[in-house]
């Protein structure tokens, strides 16, 4: 009995014994490399601070935050999930820090010979995001907009080729990088991280959408001061420079 109590106590103590200065950032999967760079810079300026990242689909991060996951900052790939947290008073005052552009990606060498969005139905296997993840929602919006241009059944013809709906943009990208999918829609910045394995094809602007990424400090932040400073860094010219290096376009703050 004493042993059990000791064990339980040990487990509880371990969970509590965390170094005081850890900043936990929940960020959309497409921000992996750029936020790693921002985290490094932040740690360099704040001695003794460690930045922890949880990178996943924005919808997954939102659910985790709603269920009490300890996080200080949330960076979403769309407004929907951020607004849900704002409405629940779990986040306040989000600011758009970057914009991003969906593109069609194909494996290096383009085995299905896809030249543009209109060729998607000729791919044998397409992978897109689930409707809940921002990249999946943007994809459906693009397909709906393309209906006017490529015919009423365009979305249905593309969806007939969809073999998997993945939980975040990077899982979508990975399937194309592996050659398991002939085409997918991800962000231009995702494609840029996998230049060795994929090629990006621009989507015509008249059917494309602009992905806006809002960032906010969370209401239950354990490190609200550090969180505000991190958000300030992301919105600063220095932070913008790092984000631009990975292909993100400036956000405009609103």
């Amino acid at each position: 009995m004493r042993l059990c109590l000791g064990l339980l106590l040990g487990v509880a103590l371990y969970a509590r014994a965390q170094p005081a200065r850890e900043l936990t950032v929940f960020a959309a999967a497409s921000l992996r490399e750029s936020f790693a760079g921002l985290g490094k810079q932040f740690e360099g300026k704040h001695a003794g601070v460690k930045v922890l990242f949880n990178l996943a689909g924005s919808q997954e991060l939102r659910t985790q935050i709603e269920n009490g996951a300890p996080a200080d900052v949330f960076a979403s790939a769309d407004h929907k999930h951020m607004q849900a947290l704002v409405a629940a008073k779990l986040a306040a005052d989000p600011k758009v820090f970057v914009r991003n552009e969906p593109v069609v990606v194909v494996p290096k060498g383009n085995p299905a010979g896809i030249k543009g969005l209109q060729d998607l139905p000729s791919a044998r296997r397409i992978v897109i995001g689930v409707p809940e993840v921002p990249v999946g929602a943007y994809t459906l919006k693009i397909l709906d907009a393309a209906v006017k241009k490529y015919g009423a059944d365009f979305r249905a013809r593309v969806e007939a080729r969809v073999v998997s709906r993945e939980l975040n943009a990077r899982q979508v990208l990975a399937k194309v990088g592996l050659g398991e999918a002939d085409a997918a829609i991800v962000y231009r910045t995702d494609a840029a991280t996998a230049k060795r394995t994929v090629e990006a094809i621009t989507i015509p602007p008249d059917v494309n959408v602009v992905a806006e990424y809002p960032i906010a400090v969370l209401a239950h932040a354990k490190q609200p001061e550090l969180a505000r400073e991190f958000v300030a860094l992301v919105l600063s010219p220095a932070g913008g420079e790092i984000l631009a290096r990975f292909g993100f376009k400036p956000g405009g703050g609103e």
Binding site: Y14, T24, R32, L52, L55, N67, Q171
Partner: protein, 272 residues
């Protein structure tokens, strides 16, 4: 007709064994053979590896300790006090084994999450369980407990009732009887059960992802690190998988040896 069926029986076994054998070994072999050394070493450089390895070690040893200590007492109680309550306990303790891990994750969240049955109450005391390392340990304990409990019950059932009666009439207390008679005889079976239970905990993925999240250094265990590194680099995922498989095999091998070694003096006869 009968003769022909009989003559096909041998080859059928051979073909089935070969097919199934190749099918079961091929994915593991592919893990090891489709990677060059430099890719593997590059994969070891993955920043996710070390935190995940440490976390997996810490959480699985914690969950194993919890499961073994509490599970041993439960198994002993169930075997020594047969009755309706024990029967119920035994069945309930097997429930997690048939629940899909993703469902376990949802259940754990509904029980211990901020808005959960117990979680709401815990939250009032400032104790958050979901999405912490504690949540990982709970998820691993939940899914792995049935394997140990079942093995321990089976092992205790094989302890000869007469030995216990003798120990008691010779004046040994119930606790001493458990410690000096029950445990040593059941030990090999329990070690094997602990090994299976540990392997299940190491591989835990679904419940952890849903209930504990995927935060490097805090809740991202090895299987989650494999899943996450797939997003950026298949080779890294492969290198992590190789390490996971190798470590798992090594520890299982050692545990099996321990179980076999302990089984030698006299106890094997009892099992027969």
């Amino acid at each position: 007709m009968k003769r022909r069926a009989a003559s096909a029986w041998g080859p059928a076994q051979a073909v089935a064994s070969a097919l199934l054998g190749v099918f079961l070994v091929l994915p593991v072999a592919a893990l090891f053979t489709t990677l060059t050394w430099s890719d593997f070493l590059g994969g070891l450089d993955n920043p996710l590896l070390l935190p995940a390895l440490k976390l997996s070690f810490l959480t699985t040893t914690s969950s194993l300790a919890l499961v073994v200590v509490l599970g041993t007492l439960l198994a002993w109680r169930v075997t020594r006090n047969p009755g309706r309550l024990s029967r119920l306990l035994e069945i309930l303790s097997q429930l997690p084994a048939v629940i899909p891990p993703a469902v376990a994750g949802v259940g754990l969240l509904l029980a211990f999450g901020r808005r959960g049955l117990l979680g709401g109450w815990l939250d009032r005391f400032g104790v958050g369980v979901a999405f912490t390392t504690t949540a990982v340990i709970l998820a691993e304990s939940f899914v792995s407990a049935p394997f140990f409990i079942q093995a321990a019950i089976a092992a205790f059932r094989r302890v000869d009732e007469n030995l216990i009666v003798v120990a008691r009439t010779l004046g040994a207390s119930p606790f001493r009887t458990f410690l000096r008679v029950g445990l040593p005889i059941a030990a090999p079976g329990m070690v094997a059960g602990a090994a299976m239970s540990w392997a299940r905990a190491v591989g835990e993925f679904g419940a952890t992802l849903l209930f504990a999240g995927n935060l490097t250094g805090r809740t991202q265990t090895m299987p989650l690190a494999v899943y996450t590194s797939m997003e950026s680099d298949l080779r890294a995922a492969q290198a992590l998988s190789i390490i996971l498989v190798t470590v798992a095999f090594a520890i299982l091998f050692v545990l099996r040896r321990v179980a076999a070694g302990r089984a030698l003096p006299g106890t094997e006869v009892r099992g027969a």
